[in-house]
């Protein structure tokens, strides 16, 4: 009598092995092609309460941990933060004055800048959790956010809104790998044009002719009438034989440690 060895018995339903995964992805891709925001909208609707729960748990937990921290540590923290705040106040003393002067000069030359409305949004998910260097904010269509709106942290511009759902929106940072953004590197009053290639994690590179005068800590700005701070030059790499200099710059704020972002509405009043 012949017996089949278990290992030689072939699977009856081969469909589950190879074809089904590929078929499933093909169907989903087709569905997404015809209804681009349906699946994403549904997924974000499901995720929103979970992200909200995570945030509240994290806040409760940090409050619970703070209960156990010693008074001495808290006092040291308060003193350190007070010093930092005082120093920041000193640095910002002439800021308002300079802004007013700048506005007055623009008005004199017949150029007035339109102030766009800003909406503050809490970050639900930020890199490195997402694989694409994107962040999810808790504000969406309902709050007037639209695709293409600029995303800022204070005076630093970080990215653009790439997707909008009813209650959430997705932010694509300029530092996303493969993304190129035209910028200007400020050096001794001149803005040197460059293309910032995103490297992920808030970092960029730009290739410039070796003779271009750029130094470390130079500000990188977004071109425009009211230039916004984009990044700060971190390092310049070149060799004796190289004709180009590779400039590396970084966002002035770390995108990993942010809790809130501001969305500048481009379509106010709609």
């Amino acid at each position: 009598m012949n017996y089949h060895l278990i290992r030689s018995v072939k699977s009856k339903s081969k469909l589950w092995g190879v074809e089904l995964p590929a078929l499933f992805l093909a169907v989903v891709t087709l569905f997404h092609f015809f209804f681009p925001s349906a699946l994403g909208g549904f997924a974000s609707k499901v995720a929103l309460p979970l992200w909200g729960a995570e945030r509240s748990i994290a806040e409760e937990f940090s409050a619970f941990l703070a209960y156990f921290s010693s008074k001495k540590t808290l006092q040291a923290d308060v003193e350190k933060l007070s010093d930092e705040l005082a120093h920041a106040h000193e640095l910002l003393l002439d800021r308002d004055l300079l802004v007013q002067e700048n506005e007055a000069l623009k008005e004199q030359f017949g150029r007035t800048t339109k102030k766009n409305e800003r909406i503050i949004g809490a970050i639900l998910v930020a890199p490195p959790r997402s694989p694409y260097d994107t962040a999810i904010l808790d504000i969406g269509e309902q709050n007037g956010v639209a695709v293409g709106d600029r995303v800022l942290a204070g005076s630093a511009v970080l990215g653009l809104v790439s997707k909008v759902y009813t209650h959430t929106s997705q932010v694509e940072f300029f530092s996303t790998a493969g993304r190129e953004t035209p910028v200007g590197i400020l050096h001794e009053g001149r803005a040197i044009p460059a293309d910032a290639a995103g490297q992920g994690g808030g970092e960029f590179t730009a290739t410039l002719p070796k003779e271009t005068e750029v130094s470390v800590k130079d500000s990188v700005i977004m071109p425009g009438l009211s230039p916004l701070l984009f990044a700060v030059v971190e390092s310049i790499e070149t060799t004796a034989t190289d004709s180009f200099a590779h400039v590396r710059f970084k966002n002035p704020v770390s995108i990993f440690s942010l809790r809130f972002l501001e969305v500048e509405r481009t379509s106010v009043g709609e």
Partner: protein
């Protein structure tokens, strides 16, 4: 002893693992989710959850990239060869 038995029962239940991985997709980094899913690929048969999770991650965070041929489901497309690769390894493994 009872805790160990409960843990064994929970980890042998596919539904429990699915829920755990789903929560992982929302709360943990994407690479950790896929790593855990890849490990459970060797525990359960035809672990299609690996593909579903990568699809969910793409739906939540995905964006079209020029250097990825403007494909929104880049991770899902990468998960298909990973699925086949893991299937191959699983078939060659002897427990």
């Amino acid at each position: 002893m009872r805790i160990a038995t409960t843990a064994r029962v929970l980890f042998s239940s596919r539904w429990c693992i699915d829920i755990l991985l789903l929560l992982c997709a929302f709360w943990a980094p994407w690479w950790l989710t896929l790593l855990v899913a890849s490990l459970f690929f060797f525990v359960f048969d035809r672990f299609l959850e690996l593909l579903l999770l990568s699809l969910l991650i793409d739906l939540l965070y995905g964006t079209a990239r020029a250097h990825l041929f403007n494909v929104t489901f880049a991770l899902s497309f990468c998960a298909v060869p990973l699925y086949f690769f893991l299937t191959l390894i699983r078939h060659r493994m002897r427990f």
